[in-house]
Each structure stands twice: as structure tokens, then as C-alpha cells.
């Protein structure tokens, strides 16, 4: 069972070895409304935690998606180009944004697990 962690900026990251799959949470897609466009940096792009890794645009607003940890993109979800709606229908599954090779797996220790994230979101409402 893969470990899923969440950030305060509503990204999730699911680890498989040292590669994490990253997307935005179901709560985040609900707040954004219908997603109409997703732009993800190309494979090979590397960045530090907190830097902009993708942009998601909904009928309400355009928002940045930040890297939850330091790393390098190994694969972008090209399917979102033609089907951005996947972010709404399956945010934490088919609606993933990119896969990232994580520099320090221990960086994930600072992120929230699912229960902690649920509690965090409940506080926001």
C-alpha cells in the first residue's frame, strides 16, 4: 500500500520507491470548480519544494500547483491536456498531474497523512 501524504496547499503525493505521483486533493478540486486547463512542466524539470510545478485553471480562477518536495519530474500526465475534467472526477486517481523523482524521501515526513489532512480541511470549512 503506497503512502499518501498531503500539503497545506492541497497537493497530494503518493510514493512508490523514490518516485512520487502528485496531484491536487479532492477538496481542492471542489473549491476550484470545473477545471478547464492544466499545464504541467515537462519531464526533466527539477525544482525545490514550494516552487511552481504546474498551473490549473478552472472557470473561477487560475492557480499554481507547488512541488511538495524537492525533485525532478519524470513524467507529466499528458492525458489532462485533452481531458482536464479528470481532475474533477478523480482528483486523487486519474487526475494526477506529474510523477516526481524525490531527492530526499525523508522530506515527506513533514507532510500530513490522510487523517491529519482531513482534520486540517475540516478546520477550513
Amino acid at each position: 500500500m503506497a503512502t499518501v501524504k498531503f500539503t497545506e496547499e492541497h497537493e497530494w503525493i503518493s510514493m512508490d520507491g523514490d518516485v512520487g505521483t502528485v496531484g491536487i486533493s479532492d477538496y481542492a478540486q471542489g473549491q476550484l470548480g470545473d477545471v478547464v486547463y492544466v499545464e504541467v512542466r515537462e519531464a526533466g524539470a527539477s525544482f525545490n519544494k514550494g516552487e511552481e510545478a504546474a498551473v490549473v485553471e478552472s472557470v473561477k480562477a487560475a492557480s499554481e500547483v507547488y512541488a511538495p518536495v524537492d525533485g525532478e519530474i519524470v513524467e507529466a500526465n499528458k492525458a489532462l491536456e485533452d481531458n482536464p475534467a479528470a481532475v474533477n472526477t478523480d482528483a486523487e486517481g486519474d487526475g494526477w498531474f506529474y510523477k516526481i523523482k524525490v531527492t530526499n524521501v525523508s522530506d515527506l515526513d513533514g507532510l500530513m497523512d490522510e487523517a491529519a489532512y482531513k482534520a486540517y480541511v475540516a478546520e477550513l470549512d
Binding site: 478547464v36 472557470v59 473561477k60 480562477a61 482536464p84
Partner: protein
């Protein structure tokens, strides 16, 4: 209820102009080129091989088509237009009369300078008023709109920094900024970072100071900001930025709140655009064009773009080349041009007409009345709607959707229901710093009667939503020529050009 034609009363179902095509129909009679045999074409390879594809219509058909389309428009001439951060104010008819004077309307930018001295004087006088109102020593008149002005100001900042051998890389922008701010900075080659806000809806000064460093080129602030609040720590902010060698851009979109009361130059601003189509009553939206002159501080004055009007030896002169600029003033270092000619001249005429007819006392009263009107709305609505930040506000008042919590009515539904009641909605979902924003800016144009009608409608709708009657909201708008458009489909599958056989799809978004 349906009619044979699909029309309702005299509201006609207007077809696209391509669907009105009658091949061969034309508004002018020209000799048939095929009958002219003794003329050799000089077009060579550039001669058209296929029809151009324009529809054929008679002149009355064209006139009616565009008139009918214009009748579907909502305009400030038709009613209250409370879009926040847009300053949709009345365009006095005097402005239009002035803009149509033959000596101002029938001139060309390439005319000999000696024949348009009056036009140059008008530009110089407009510039003088704008510099005086903002307390700034220099101005670039050519930018064509607010965002163009932002780019102009940032290019001046970059030019000034590069001239001292220190280009720098970061621009800091508050999270409540207009989206054009980060876009302009990015376009100018800067890395954009977001300054957090306080729970008072203003820039977090301590956080800003923490982000400053010798790689910060500039900050971009909006004052009053998009929450309708005055940034009361602006002087500390600009001082902190100047202390690290950075410059301060101010988004002047909300200048209407402070004209005649606050001079941005006194606040430490280095560059600010002025939306003449907002603050100075020139046409706005589809009726434009706009204009976005940029006032510049002493630090940036030498880096104003070309062209500009100066007082020359033999009357007014237009400086159009870098060499001429250097000859006129030895420290001038223009970075080039923002626009083909001198700026939106017809808009300058209207703005100057407004300023001269209002006078400095009138301009001051207008900004005061704009602030009073926004506070009137806040006072009349705060008990039923949820105001995001405590007042008093400036020229616009920000509510969020907490008052709709658990009603199943969204800000969008609320706005559509306002249309059914005959009111253009306020700005929605902006600024992004609050949830489901409703940003209302009545401007000084509106009298108490109009504001009271507006308040009655908003209150009635809020009570209706809170009473659980959501049906009318979900169905809204019910009385418009088209019902609610499918924004999602329009954004995911935009159809931007007409092509034969695709016309019915254009209407499928309903």
C-alpha cells in the same frame, strides 16, 4: 412560450453575419473586374486565387445586424454597472462633443508637426494634469491600456536597474493583486513571488520585509487594494523597498478612490498607470479603446518610452528617436516604443475634457462621492451579507459567500438572479483572497435612488436564498435572450471562429 420566428416581442434572434450571406449581394456597385480587359494586374503571386469568404449583404442589413447586436449589450448608459475594480462611471456627453471637434478628430499622426500644435498642446496639458494629480515629475502617455501601462512601468524599472548594472530577478506581488500584475512582471522577465496578506486584508508588512533582498527589482502594489481597502502602511512599504535598492510599481486601477486627496508620488511610488477609461470617464469595455498613461518618479523619468511631447524652441515638438531624446535632455535613456504612434489621442481629449470641466475641486468631490457610495452599500447590506473586512471601505466593498453557506446558492447563482431582476452583477470570485467574492463598486455616478433600488434587490435575493427558495437561483437567468451559458464547455471546447456547417454548434452551449 414560443413564437413562429423564435423572436420575443421586438427582441430578435440575431443570426451570425455569415448566416445572413446572400452571395453576390453588396452595398456598393463596383465595375465588374472581369469586364476590364486592358489592365494588367501587378499583384503577381499575391493575387487571390480563391474567394475571400466574406458574406454578401446590403448596407441596411449590415446596419441592422450591428445595431441589434449592440441592443443586446449592457452599458453604463443603460444602468448601474457595479463591477468592482472596474470603475464603470458615466461618460459625460461633453467629452464626446470635444472629441468630435474637427480640429481634434480629423487629424493624422503623420501630419507635419507645425499643423498639429494644438493637438500637442492638448497632450501636454493632459500630461500636466495627470502629473499634478499624482505628484509625479514624468509621464509616458503612449500605453494603450492598464496592463500595457504595467508593462511600460516595469520596462522602465528594468531599464533603470540595468543602467546601474544591477538588473535583479524578483518582483513581489500581493496575493490580492489583479492577475495582470504577475503576468506583466513575468512578461518582463521577472520571477514573481506572492506577498501574503494580513487578516485585515492588507499587505503583511513584516512578511514583505522578510522577502526583501538585493535581488528584488520591485514590488507591485494596488492602493486602494482590490479588497477596497487603503494600504495604510504604504509609506513603510515603499521605504523598505527603496532601502534595498528596489522600486515600487502601483497599479492605478483604483485611483478613482483618492483623486484630489492622495498623491501617489508622496507615498513613494515610482511608477503608476492611470486607466483613463476608469478614473477619467472615457469609454470603457466594448466602447473603448482604453488608455493607460504611466506616471514616473524622478528615479525613472529618464527611462520613459518614446515618443513624447516636449516644449521645443519653435513651439511643441514630438521626440520620436533616441538621438533626439538625448539631444533634448542629456540624461534621457528611452528604451524604445510601446505603441506605433503617440497614444490614444481621442481618449486624451475626453479625459482632458473631464478634468477641465470638473476642475480640481470637482475631481476631489467625485472621489469622495465614490467612497461615500461604496460605504452606503456596505452600511445597507452588512447585516444580511457577510462583509469580508471591517469598514470603512474605499471606493468598493467586498463581500464573500459566507452568507450563502448551507443555502446551496453560489455566488454565480446569485449573480445570475440579479440579471433577472434587471441589475448587472458585481465582480464575482475576485479577489481570490476571500471565498466566493462579491465585489461592488457603485462609483460616484449613482444617486441615492439607484443605490436604494440596488440595495432592495440584493436584500430581497439574500433573504430569498436564506429562506431556502433556491429554485429561482438555479434556473437564473430566466428572462434573458439566452439562459445560463455552459462556461465549462465553452472553456474546454472553445469555438472561436465561424466555419461553414458549424453554426448550430455555436448555440449548443445553452
Amino acid at each position: 412560450m414560443s413564437t413562429v420566428t423564435g423572436n420575443r416581442g421586438l427582441q430578435l434572434e440575431e443570426k451570425l453575419i455569415f448566416e445572413l450571406n446572400s452571395p453576390g449581394m453588396t452595398a456598393v456597385d463596383l465595375p465588374n473586374p472581369h469586364e476590364i480587359t486592358n489592365v494588367e494586374s501587378r499583384l503577381g503571386n499575391a493575387a487571390r486565387k480563391n474567394p475571400i469568404g466574406l458574406p454578401g449583404l446590403s448596407e441596411p442589413q449590415v446596419v441592422r445586424h450591428y445595431l441589434r447586436l449592440s441592443q443586446k449589450n449592457f452599458a453604463i448608459d443603460g444602468g448601474l454597472y457595479p463591477l468592482g475594480s472596474c470603475t464603470m462611471k458615466h461618460n459625460p456627453r461633453l467629452n464626446e462633443k470635444m472629441a468630435r471637434l474637427p480640429g481634434l478628430a480629423d487629424i493624422h499622426p503623420l501630419q507635419p508637426k507645425s499643423t498639429v500644435q494644438g493637438a500637442f498642446e492638448l497632450m501636454d496639458m493632459t500630461a500636466h494634469w495627470l502629473k499634478t494629480l499624482t505628484g509625479m515629475p514624468a509621464i509616458a502617455m503612449s500605453p494603450a491600456a492598464g496592463a500595457h501601462g504595467e508593462l511600460c512601468g516595469l520596462m522602465s524599472i528594468r531599464a533603470a536597474l540595468e543602467a546601474r548594472g544591477d538588473a535583479r530577478s524578483r518582483v513581489l506581488v500581493p496575493e490580492s493583486a489583479h492577475g495582470t500584475n504577475p503576468a506583466s512582471a513575468h512578461m518582463c522577465g521577472y520571477q514573481v513571488e506572492t506577498i501574503p496578506a494580513t487578516d485585515q486584508g492588507r499587505v503583511d508588512l513584516a512578511a514583505l520585509k522578510g522577502m526583501l533582498g538585493d535581488d528584488v527589482a520591485a514590488i507591485m502594489v494596488t492602493n486602494p487594494n482590490t479588497c477596497g481597502l487603503f494600504e495604510d502602511e504604504i509609506i513603510e512599504m515603499t521605504k523598505a523597498v527603496h532601502d534595498i535598492g528596489g522600486l515600487v510599481y502601483c497599479d492605478g486601477a483604483n485611483f478613482n478612490a483618492i483623486v484630489g486627496r492622495v498623491r501617489p508620488g508622496d507615498l513613494g511610488i515610482d511608477a503608476m498607470h492611470l486607466n483613463l477609461h476608469k478614473t477619467f470617464s472615457t469609454p470603457h469595455g466594448g466602447g473603448g479603446p482604453g488608455a493607460g498613461p504611466v506616471v514616473l518618479s524622478e528615479a525613472l523619468a529618464a527611462f520613459a518610452p518614446l515618443p513624447y511631447v516636449v516644449h521645443g524652441k519653435d513651439g511643441f515638438d514630438l521626440i520620436e528617436q533616441a538621438d533626439d531624446a538625448a539631444e533634448f535632455s542629456s540624461d534621457a535613456k528611452p528604451y524604445g516604443r510601446m505603441k506605433g504612434f503617440h497614444g490614444q489621442f481621442g481618449v486624451f481629449v475626453r479625459a482632458l475634457s473631464y478634468m477641465l470641466s470638473m476642475g480640481s475641486d470637482g475631481l476631489r468631490q467625485a472621489s469622495s462621492d465614490a467612497v461615500l457610495n461604496a460605504n452606503y452599500l456596505m452600511a445597507k447590506l452588512s447585516d444580511l451579507l457577510t462583509v469580508s473586512y471591517d469598514g470603512p471601505c474605499m471606493h468598493e466593498v467586498l463581500f464573500d459567500d459566507r452568507f450563502l453557506k448551507d443555502t446551496d446558492v453560489t455566488t454565480l447563482d446569485f449573480a445570475k438572479a440579479m440579471i433577472d431582476e434587471g441589475f448587472h452583477p458585481m465582480t464575482m470570485y475576485f479577489p481570490l483572497v476571500v471565498h466566493g467574492a462579491l465585489l461592488m463598486e457603485p462609483t460616484e455616478t449613482e444617486g441615492k435612488e439607484t443605490l436604494d433600488e440596488f440595495v432592495d434587490v440584493i436584500r430581497a435575493l439574500a433573504e430569498k436564498a436564506q429562506s431556502g427558495n433556491t429554485q429561482d437561483f438555479k434556473a437564473a437567468p430566466r428572462y434573458t435572450p439566452r439562459r445560463r451559458l455552459d462556461e465549462t464547455k465553452a472553456a474546454r471546447n472553445p469555438v472561436l471562429v465561424w466555419s461553414p456547417g458549424r453554426a448550430p454548434e455555436l448555440q449548443a452551449a445553452e
